[in-house]
Amino acid sequence: MSSSANDFASNPLGTSITLEELYDAFELLDDWEDRYAFIIDLGKQLPPFPDAQRTEKNYVHGCQSQVWLIHHYDKESGKLLLLIDSDAIIVRGLAAIILLAFNNLTPTDLLATDIDKLFERLDLFRHISPTRGNGLRSMISKIRNIAAAEIA
């Protein structure tokens, strides 16, 4: 079953919540506990992931936790809609940050987005570095491949 536009309708990440808001909020948090509590709360903003989409095709490999990713290309607006789910609350929160950066952009804009820089600015880069092996790196490549395929 392919995903429908409906699955993405209620996603606030990259639509009603913006990256600038994230930067501003993050600046006010000074200890690790508050930062992680914030990340985890952000993960709770992800809309429910449709159960029917928990398929092998949508599974992101290389994660310790179970991670799923689906997308929908909206022809009218030319924008790519994304949805991610994970059973680990921190991965879910980090996925929410990735969506803040990537969701609801045209594939061209998505490919031009420097996600590493964003994570560096938040001092979270180690979480998406290839050494961590939590799968976020493969999630990012998967999203970029999807965007590239829409352009091609």
């Binding site: 992680y36 509590a37 310790q64 059973d87 680990a88 609350i89 991965v91 939590n134």
Partner: protein, 416 residues
């Protein structure tokens, strides 16, 4: 912990602070906090003595081994062969011919699985256990595929012990090989090796024991265990990476064909036919990891310099303290509660994924392993995606155990 611990009248003294000073890696800050290293099951740290021995080897005596007509070559060969003798004594093996250098436990198991090809016919059975590390599963599956043999796992009890009934049922007519771990890396369970080996032997079954998680914690005597093969890796027992050991019974090693071909493993090479070197060199093709062998020898010397009975008692105290504190963390469940364990605690906490626990502990300077611990069949048995695992070494302190639980309580109350 193990039966080797000596019963002493007074509690043995073990100066953990003095021992910690021998390990340079331990005295550093991580994420602004003093490092609490509880991932020893994945790889332990090295004492200064190991670093110095390897450094000295490279500075003063490096050359290729068994080749030279010169002084450095002699020195290197002496250092290399004397390390082999240390390993022989460490395991109480009858002869150093039976000590074969490998890259680690994984390579040692692959070597044996490869060497036993001729012993198997279609329908024969290789008995493993449900709690094996993938390193002691996949090589046997490859062997089974090649020979038409079948891999059969011994079951595990909910407490994380090998199921004796399952073992007795499965050890049968067709069993040719029995391979299992001395100590489970995921759970810490110490398995009854001598007893199981005796039962297998009575039926003529070849036995391999994966000792990767045993040798860091207690003394092993391969003659007392009477197993045919015993393997371990140096890096989990305070030695270097990239080197490990295969011990084997002489007759089996003699009968096994060489594994890799090359220099060193031959007696004479000609295009009319090649004859192989004697043990142990028959299995050591190519230039070996000499500095690493020397480092492993130094790790063995270092362990011998400690009171191992006192060390075991100290490790037991760490596990006891951890067990006592489990109830202080709401929703925490220990996976693997066998009566006989090394100081390893695998656990889950309700509302948190193991990877969440790992990340949040790391923020507090505490290193644990999370995930399936290369034991997916075991995780399948428990129906969990994985665990967080605190694996202690003798250089860990009771304060570090307290710190772990303080951190877990904080994580649980704030994030779960």
């Amino acid at each position: 912990m193990s039966s080797v611990s000596t019963a002493k009248t007074a509690p043995p003294q073990f100066d953990v602070e003095a021992v910690r000073r021998d390990f340079p890696t331990l005295s550093q800050q991580v994420n602004g906090k003093p490092l609490v290293y509880l991932d020893n099951g994945a790889s332990s740290q090295r004492p200064e003595a190991v670093l110095l021995a390897m450094d000295r080897y490279y500075r003063e005596m490096h050359s290729n081994v068994h080749r030279g007509a010169h002084t450095l070559g002699d020195r290197a060969t002496n250092a290399f062969e004397s390390a082999r003798e240390k390993v022989q004594k460490f395991l109480n093996a009858p002869s150093s011919r039976q000590i074969i250098w490998t890259r680690g436990a994984t390579e040692a198991i692959n070597l044996v699985a490869n060497g036993l090809t001729e012993k198997l016919k279609p329908g024969d059975e290789i008995l493993l256990s449900q709690m094996e590390h993938h390193a002691n599963i996949v090589p046997w599956q490859i062997l089974a595929e090649r020979t038409g043999a079948k891999v059969v796992p011994i079951g595990v009890t909910p407490e994380g012990e090998l199921d004796r009934e399952s073992f007795h049922c499965l050890l049968g007519e067709r069993t040719r090989i029995l391979a299992f771990n001395h100590v489970s890396n995921a759970l810490g369970t110490i398995n009854p090796v001598a007893d199981m080996v005796a039962k297998a032997k009575a039926q003529g079954v070849i036995t391999l024991i994966d000792g990767a998680q045993a040798v860091p914690h207690f003394q092993v005597d391969v003659q007392a265990l009477d197993c045919d093969f015993y393997v371990f890796s140096a890096h989990k027992m305070f030695g270097p990476t990239g080197i490990g050991i295969l011990y084997g019974k002489a007759d089996l090693l003699e009968a096994m064909p060489p594994w890799q071909g090359g220099g060193e493993m031959i007696e004479r090479v000609s295009f009319a036919g090649t004859t192989y070197n004697t043990l142990p060199y028959k299995f050591e093709a190519g230039t070996p990891a000499v500095a690493e062998a020397v480092g492993l020898g130094a790790a063995i010397d270092y362990l011998a310099s400690l009171d191992r009975g006192a060390m075991e008692a100290a490790e037991n105290a760490l596990l006891r303290r951890a067990n006592d504190l489990v109830a202080s963390v709401p929703g925490m469940t220990v996976v693997g509660t066998a009566a006989n364990k090394v100081p390893v605690m695998s656990f889950t906490i309700e509302g948190l994924h193991p990877s969440d626990i790992g990340t949040l502990l790391d923020q507090q300077g505490i290193a644990v392993r999370t995930g399936h611990h290369c034991a997916m069949p075991l995780m399948e048995f428990y129906e969990i995606p994985g665990t967080a695992r605190a694996s202690f070494a003798f250089y860990n302190t009771l304060e570090e155990v307290e710190q772990l639980f303080t951190a877990l309580r904080k994580i649980q109350s704030r994030f779960a």
